[in-house]
């Protein structure tokens, strides 16, 4: 990889800097890639880090190229500490700043992996993950909120998410049906809300 493809050159590459400002904002980004390096899920919590989709994908590609060959758990790229883990055809990544406590990032990664593993009944692979994508999003949101570690105990996460992977995923037809139904009712709710709402309820 050449310098041109590294978008954050100006602030990256240093592995050293002043002591960490005490803060709860630990996680810079989380993403899950498949074994071709395609993005399945990704969340960036620091708006200054890779603000555009293009930069994000570029970063993910970079990370994937450096990490997919061997399961080494931790890497340092573009000025960021990255902990990762793979399972069958999936790669899980948690990104933190260069000075971040690596073990805190590991705690997040482990919690994410364990929670998904429980939710997906140990079938941590691309297919089941895609089938239960909504649950996966809920899990991620219960573990990290805006970069702050919300929960690190997988058991707690599972309880909060209250979600079980379905044994019989719905056929395509029924999915379509449900979506239409859902959209219709969504607009109903909106409609009725619009009529009913008294802003004062909030006061």
């Amino acid at each position: 990889m050449t310098a041109q493809s590294c978008p954050r050159q100006h602030c990256a590459t240093t592995m050293d800097s002043a002591a960490l400002e005490p803060s709860l904002y630990t996680v810079k980004a989380v993403f899950i890639l498949d074994n071709d390096g395609n993005r399945l899920l990704s969340k960036y919590y620091d708006p200054e880090l890779y603000p555009s989709m293009k930069e994000q994908k570029n970063f993910e590609k970079n990370v994937f190229n450096k990490t997919h060959k061997a399961d080494h758990e931790i890497a340092f790229l573009e000025g960021m500490t990255i902990v990762y883990k793979s399972s069958i055809d999936l790669f899980f990544y948690v990104v933190g700043s260069a000075q971040e406590n690596e073990l805190m990032l590991m705690a997040v990664l482990n919690c994410l992996f364990e929670s998904l593993s429980q939710m997906l009944r140990k079938n941590v692979e691309k297919r089941t993950l895609l089938d239960n994508m909504d649950g996966v999003f809920l899990v991620v949101d219960e573990i990290i909120d805006g970069g702050v570690i919300l929960e690190s105990d997988p058991q707690q996460v599972i309880e909060k998410v209250n979600y079980r992977a379905d044994d019989n995923p719905l056929s395509e037809q029924s999915v379509a049906q449900h979506i239409t139904e859902k959209l219709a009712r969504t607009s109903n709710v909106l409609q009725s809300a619009k009529e009913q709402i008294k802003w004062s309820i909030l006061k």
Partner: protein
């Protein structure tokens, strides 16, 4: 997409409906987020969405189903703006102290997010956060601590109190401990607390925590503390040593990375871990292996260097640029430590230079090669050859110009300078404007130094004069004309050694000149000199952070002083500031009043700036001035007192002194100084002063004016040329015995610091095992004189070639002066 609740069958229908409902809410949320993101200036659907969502979420927030309450709070806070914040304040306060941990945590974290938006509102929830901090739940503790710290971080006292409380109550969450360690080390740094502080004790006690995360955080905090001694480091190093053999890669990585950092400042502290580090150099995680090797390179012996370099070259292509930079820096440090190893290193570096890599990586290598060349004359030719090869295919303008400059400086003085010309001229043909211009300058230096190359260089210059770029053409024309004169003095002044004035000062002077049109040509001598020599900065080992981009040209210290002094009416018409000294302390550190002095030298005057600080909180000083009694024929012209000096607010007073006119050689002088002032006692709490005051005085230490105050360092990159330029008219030779000096190094350092001159061509470094050495010093000396009633300053270049000889236990120094004979030692 129906998902079942994990409930009993008979309830499943009901819960499904509920589930669907939450999903509608999610959809709405998505919609909301979508509109908020897309259309902040008021899409019609935004208000509806917000209202609908807020309504549903508020119901959820307060509903019975605990599972929904946390997410509802987080979602609501996400869409809340400042106007809505007031409305949900009551809910938030309740939620923060909710007994359900997920609700409390969500409320705390959401509050933290909203601090950015509305600090004042969130600040009102501090009592609730305080209550939440004593929760049994580990995550609630952590989040409460984080929020409390953010709300209080500007109030050091409150943070200290909070920290005291939590260190005593003993939080359970390892995350919270990590946070506390960070807060504690920040406090220590701010208060410059010693290692006997309870904060340090707390951090050290965390080394015995049962969570590895906390132990590591504590060790890392100790390692990062400035001014940590080897003894204080020892416990931290020993836990890191244990981590080195952990089965967890992340922990090994963390440990070795931190040890690497320790090794930079305290290599001996890490030697105990050498065995553990040896085990890591074959680690399958290349990041760990690299860090282990570079750490060993810093701590190990010379004999292990070859083996380690071999090991690292086996996988250097696999590691990321960041780590390659680490490797290069380790090599750079190593070359300074073991100069004899430079051939191994140079080989390795040239291979690395050929590999792919980003700008930072290449720059690190180039910097490293250049520093090796400068340190080891015998590696010059190989090094230059590698650099030449590199610029043949170099996409980074900055590096190409840097290397061309280096070639221009070093190339002409090699045995076969002609071979570099081809590389340089290739740049003129192929590269961008900036590189072409640099190449032209480099070519000119070859022409100026080597008479036999001159005709060829002139032909090439001719070619450059037809360049499409202005700068390139200008340079070529200029050099062409200078070279054609074939005068050594011109070459030295305009080709080898550039301007030594401050760029900002030059800009200002030129601007001034254009504002006041005058018959006279612009006089370069009115421009203040550049204070810090531009190159020769990176002699010490470069630390890991190398990625700082070239900073904008900041005004130098002297430019700032010039500005400040010019603002004082009494100091008008003194001409440009020649030199500002380093501050000299005139009091002990712990006295009632702290005074330090900065000496500003002008053509015929000196200004003494006294920076005074009053450390008594029950006194207000007024009309503060420092009275000076000179020992020589210096004349104190004027005092500018500091009008008022309240407690702990530094202020400056000035004294203007005229230098002795008749005797320009009387440069050194001792002043006895007394601070005089009016004291008004005041209330320590309110700072309200009494109406009456009384005069008092305070005796300060004597102030010395020395030779060095009249001398400004200048760097002559090509000393020989500068020497020739001056001619031998003023040359004078004298020999002095330096009786008390024991080694060459000592002699050289003493001479430099006494004369305050700039060592050139790295002649301040004495090669090992030699008993004679020639030191090159350059400076400008100010000559004090008054001509025709006009103030003028003449700057004499003052150059010295000083052969220093060592004989049994004593050194003698002879020197050959430059043109300046007035300097008395």
């Amino acid at each position: 997409m129906i998902k079942k609740f994990d409930k009993k069958d008979e309830e499943s229908g009901k819960s499904n409906i509920k589930y669907m409902l939450t999903h509608y809410r999610c959809s709405i949320l998505l919609l909301t987020a979508y509109f908020r993101g897309r259309n902040d200036d008021g899409c019609f659907a935004k208000e509806e969405c917000l209202q609908a969502t807020a309504l549903l979420l508020t119901k959820d927030m307060t509903g019975k189903e605990d599972v929904y309450r946390g997410p509802a709070i987080r979602a609501l806070c996400r869409i809340t703006d400042t106007t809505m914040l007031q409305a949900i304040e009551r809910y938030m306060k309740q939620a923060i102290v909710d007994k359900v941990p997920s609700v409390s945590s969500s409320a705390l974290v959401s509050s933290l997010h909203m601090v950015k938006m509305s600090f004042d509102v969130v600040k009102r929830w501090v009592n609730e956060a305080q209550e939440a901090a004593s929760s049994d739940n580990v995550m609630v503790q952590y989040h409460a601590l984080g929020l409390l710290y953010h709300l209080r971080k500007n109030d050091r006292l409150a943070v200290t109190k909070m920290l005291n409380k939590f260190t005593k109550s003993g939080l359970k969450s390892p995350f919270a401990y990590c946070m506390m360690i960070r807060i504690a080390s920040k406090l220590l740094e701010e208060t410059e607390g010693g290692h006997d502080s309870p904060l340090f004790d707390f951090i050290e006690s965390c080394l015995r925590n049962k969570h590895e995360m906390v132990v590591y955080e504590a060790a890392s905090a100790i390692v990062h503390m400035p001014k940590c001694t080897a003894r204080e480091l020892a416990p931290a190093v020993s836990v890191l040593q244990l981590f080195c053999s952990s089965p967890k890669a992340a922990l090994r990585y963390a440990a070795v990375r931190t040890l690497n950092k320790v090794a930079m400042k305290h290599p001996s502290a890490v030697t105990a871990c050498n065995l553990d580090l040896e085990n890591l150099i074959t680690d399958s995680n290349r990041s760990i292996a690299t860090l282990a090797i570079t750490t060993l390179l810093k701590t190990g012996s010379e004999s292990s260097v070859d083996r380690l370099m071999k090991q690292i070259s086996s996988f250097v292509s696999e590691i990321s640029d960041e780590f390659k930079v680490v490797v290069v820096q380790a090599i750079s440090a190593l070359c300074q430590k073991y100069p004899r190893k430079h051939s191994v290193m140079m080989n390795f570096l040239s291979n690395m230079l050929r590999d792919d890599g980003g700008f930072e990586y290449k720059r690190a290598i180039v910097d490293c090669i250049i520093s090796i060349i400068e340190e080891n004359p015998e590696s010059k030719e190989t090094g230059l050859a590698h650099l030449c090869e590199f610029i043949e295919d170099c996409e980074h303008t900055v590096l190409a110009t840097k290397i061309l400059h280096m070639l221009g400086k070093e190339g002409p003085r090699t045995p076969t300078p002609s071979k570099y010309i081809r590389f340089i001229f290739n740049r003129v043909v192929l590269e961008s404007e900036a590189v072409r211009a640099a190449a032209v300058s480099a070519l000119a230096k070859f022409g100026a130094q080597n008479d036999d190359l001159l005709p060829s260089v002139l032909v090439l210059m001719q070619r450059c004069m037809m360049d499409s770029d202005d700068e390139v053409r200008d340079r070529a024309t200029f050099y062409m004309n200078v070279l054609q004169q074939k005068q050594k003095a011109l070459n030295a002044a305009y080709i080898f050694n550039g301007l030594s004035v401050s760029v900002l000062g030059l800009e200002k002077s030129l601007h001034q000149y254009t504002l006041e049109p005058s018959e006279k040509p612009f006089d370069m001598k009115t421009v203040p000199l550049a204070t810090a020599p531009i190159t020769e900065q990176k002699t010490e080992i470069t630390p890991m952070a190398t990625s700082k981009l070239p900073e904008k040209l900041a005004p130098s210290r002297q430019d700032i002083y010039q500005e400040q002094l010019a603002a004082i009416p009494e100091f008008q018409g003194l001409g440009p500031l020649f030199k500002s000294s380093e501050p000299v302390q005139l009091t002990e550190a712990e006295t009632e009043y702290v005074v330090r002095c900065i000496k500003h030298t002008f053509a015929n005057h000196m200004i003494f700036q006294f920076d005074c600080t009053n450390t008594l909180n029950d006194q207000l000083l007024q009309r503060v001035l420092v009275q000076m009694e000179p020992s020589e024929s210096y004349e104190v012209l004027h005092y500018v007192p500091a009008p008022s000096l309240p407690y702990s607010q530094p202020s400056s007073c000035y004294s203007l002194v005229r230098l002795p006119e008749d005797d320009p050689t009387a440069v050194s002088c001792t002043f006895s100084c007394t601070m005089k002032y009016l004291v008004r006692d005041c209330d320590p709490n309110t700072g309200e002063p009494d109406d009456d005051g009384y005069n008092d005085e305070y005796v300060l230490e004597d102030l010395e004016v020395t030779v060095a105050d009249h001398i400004q360092k200048v760097l002559k990159p090509n000393f020989g040329a500068a020497w020739e330029e001056i001619g031998d008219e003023f040359e004078k030779e004298e020999t002095f015995a330096l009786a008390t000096v024991r080694t060459l190094d000592e002699a050289v350092n003493n001479i430099i610091s006494f004369l305050g001159m700039q060592p050139c061509e790295r002649s301040d470094k004495v090669p090992e095992n030699k008993n004679s050495h020639v030191l090159f010093l350059a400076a400008l000396q100010v000559q004090h004189m008054e001509k025709f009633g006009h103030l003028s300053m003449t700057r004499f270049p003052s150059l010295k070639r000083m052969p220093v000889h060592m004989s049994q236990n004593s050194a003698s120094v002879g020197w050959v002066y430059g043109p300046n004979t007035s300097l008395i030692l």
